[in-house]
Symmetry: C2
Subunit: 237 residues, 2 copies
């Protein structure tokens, strides 16, 4: 008799959510608030973090830096004397276009969870897939650059719906473009009614204080026990 190999094709998202919950439990045990920060390539996530993380008061922060290849952003952030762990996704064919819960889990042992209050996971630059994978975060936030145009919420709705905060970055460039900020914000509200937003420029520093306050508030809320982690597609635990 021939041996028959049966492959069980798991639901990738269910497996991801299982691991995301395990990450979440580890973060909770360590008392770490986790932000999953997403954007298109070049929207300015790292530049905003360079500005915002330099003075978080008594909040101790670390960054998990996701990139297809290289460690350029991690090196930029390490210069702030913040613990940074680089996660490269290029092991997949051509490079995975997002972080998933298992990738984040593989980095947990390299993170000083016991010594931090806030972990920022800077996801791979991509407006599609990162929004589909919970990684155990408390909150999802995204950055969109005004240079990307006012139609992005309509074209990449899942990302804008998945996040609690949209940071509209590079506002200093808007006067040099044909982009209408009111229309951009209206598109944002169409896709995700009630979503919070901040207007920033990592270059000029405009709005960075508000972003810093938002981060500090999230840590304070988590300390007060307002954690509301809900894996995509599941009821709150």
């Amino acid at each position: 008799m021939h041996r028959i190999k049966v492959r069980v094709v798991e639901d990738a998202l269910d497996a991801n959510n299982t691991i995301a919950r395990a990450n979440r439990e580890d973060f909770d045990r360590a008392g770490v608030t986790v932000i999953n920060l997403m954007s298109a390539p070049g929207a300015g996530k790292t530049a905003l973090l360079e500005r915002a993380l330099d003075d978080l008061g008594d909040v101790r922060v670390a960054v998990l830096e996701g990139d297809v290849e290289g460690s350029l952003d991690a090196e930029r952030l390490a210069s702030l004397h913040v613990p940074v762990v680089q996660l490269n996704t290029s092991a997949g064919f051509g490079g995975e276009c997002h972080l998933d819960a298992n990738m984040v889990r593989s980095a947990l042992s390299a993170l000083p969870l016991a010594d931090i209050d806030l972990l920022i996971i800077e996801n791979v630059g991509n407006l599609v897939c990162p929004a589909e994978f919970r990684v155990g975060e408390d909150v999802r936030a995204m950055v969109c650059s005004v240079a990307e145009g006012e139609d992005k919420p309509l074209k990449y709705p899942l990302m804008f719906r998945a996040c609690e905060l949209a940071v509209v970055n590079k506002i200093d460039l808007i006067e040099h473009t044909d982009v209408d900020l009111d229309r951009l914000l209206a598109n944002l509200q169409t896709v995700h009614p009630g979503i919070e937003h901040l207007i920033c420029s990592a270059r000029t520093g405009e709005g960075v204080d508000a972003l810093r306050d938002w981060l500090i508030d999230k840590v304070a809320a988590a300390r007060a026990g307002d954690g509301t982690f809900t894996p995509a597609g599941s009821a709150p635990a």
Copy 2:
């Protein structure tokens, strides 16, 4: 006896290349040159096409517009009286982040292949996965906006390596940023030595003539029999 279901997990890329070859044969039979145009979200693919496609001489063009959701770009291009077919990828969970050969194949019957010389496939805005999937094109080209920063070739090398042409767009914005064009171009050459590039602004029209000439040259080269389609990972057919 229980019936045993055996699932054969195909190599997704091999299947993709098989279908890409079938697309290629259909394009060859119709004498259509095909450009796969890629970029990050908001780099300006559609705006460049609006400018460049308005006067291609005797070259008859159509556009296959790939988006996760909506038909905003297709509507913009249809106003040029160019045949446009919209392909939405939102059927996948959350939306597929790229076009593959099978998606393009599903649109072939809607395209007037017999009446055109040039088909431009405007891919989903994403600097990672679209580069991994051949769709039967002759040439791959990409657009990067200077607003995305000078480090993008180093961070998303596969995309820059996969393309024969890099269009550096939004050059009108560069004086309002800290981006160094020489460094951007040096990074491009580091990742893909010898890659052709154009400096453009869809807003001011700078460089659009050169892009138009490049498109016309590609059609002329294909007519002269210089087709060089090579599915990723395979020897030339």
